[in-house]
Amino acid sequence: MSSLAVEFKDVRKTYRTKSRTVEALKGINLRIPENQIYGFAGPNGAGKSTSIKILVGLLRPDHGEVRIFNHPGGSNQAKRLIGFLPEVTLYHEFMGALELLRIHADIAGVPKSERDDRCHAALAKVGLDDRAKSRLKEFSKGMKQRFGIAQALVGDPKLLVFDELTSGLDPRAQASLLELLVDLKSQGMTVFFSSHHLREIEKICDSVTILHNGVLQCAGPLDSVLEDEESGTRLTLEELFNKVTMPEKEEVKA
């Protein structure tokens, strides 16, 4: 049990707006072992963003428990072990790359003596060390995403959480980022990322889960999930996805 990176126990979350009440998550049970790349798929409005926010501690679930490496979800100890990159990355673009990274390092609690080394190492890891002094607004989208990964790495996390990492990127940039993820896994990290690009999930993930209407439709190692019991054949992830996600009744904006 202690080798679980992430554990969701019957997590529920309901949003109450002026117009209506929406049950975003209806009892999620999830177990993510360490040192894996875990893919998270689901149609829009299924509750992916909500789950991720609860995972990184931005939201409190109404019910249930979250544990990150056995620390309570949302606590500072849990947050210290997580490196997070949200979907929309509007950084403070007037800042320089290294400058902003240093600030992130400070917030992440990196000791002053190690700070500069870590920053340079993170930039090197994502291949941006030659652009350390440039302003972020000069970066292309792919470079900004890479900077985002560097920012997630600077706190020396054990779990990386990415929301729509490759959206809007050209295929080459996509591919290089995926390579990076595999590399990070080989260094002992656990990666959790959500994506609409099922093919990339299929390519690099060890396990996958599909969320639909606030309920986990299936979860587990890629191979076993793709085994279709009925026909005995192996589906593609896309086929599984279509099978599992009937037309949604409601969309939830997390």
């Binding site: 409190r60 500072n76 800042m95």
Partner: protein, 258 residues
Amino acid sequence: MRAVLSLARLYFLGAMRRQAHLATLFLAVILLMLPSYINAFSLGLDAFERVAKDFGLTLIGYFGVGMGIVLASSSIPKDLETRSLYPILARPINRWQYILSHFLATAALLFLSFLFLGLALMVSISALTRTVEASLLIAVFSSYLQALIVASFCTAFSTVASPALAGTVGVFVFLIGSLPGAFIRFFLVEDRNNQFAAGAATMLKSIVPNLSIYSLKDPIVHELPFNHLYLVAITLYALVWVACAIAGAGIMFGRRDL
């Protein structure tokens, strides 16, 4: 603590970049031209100097509070709007620390502005009196403390409300807080015998910081003596109110779903 200061630096640079301080420059120029607005001979030269100082200090006081309100009310909502607060809050940083960073950035920018305006006023008055009147800076500092308190309230309410609403709260705090007790007693009770209004005003005044202690304009302009421990006292008063506002903000923000 280093996290807070670092983050504050980030927001400070952001606010500077939005060039809010250009408005300060504009007012500074107006202040520097102060002597030319008043015809010295219609007042008498001695009175002229006092009027110029009074006028200048009043301008700085109001402008400073206004600037504080504007800066403080928009700092956090801007972060929320651009969603740049998500990666920050996912870090091992408490919500009150996050709020404190925003406030410190505002406080720093306000400090620079007040300092600049104070110096501009000093230069302007020196042109008249041919001496350097450093005591003006004391009154400016007092106005700064007042603006800090109001800004802290704006910051607090901006965690749960729109910038406009937070700004309105700030204005409200400023108006009620500056109302001298004598005003309530005299005009509401004595002159108009309006007990209800007086009672309401007194109640409101007790939950809001007492800002009337910050008007040091009179002693500075008229060169009347006052105890310097008073300055220490009002500084502590400001700090404790700011701390309350931040603590309250932490509670309000902690309840909020992002």
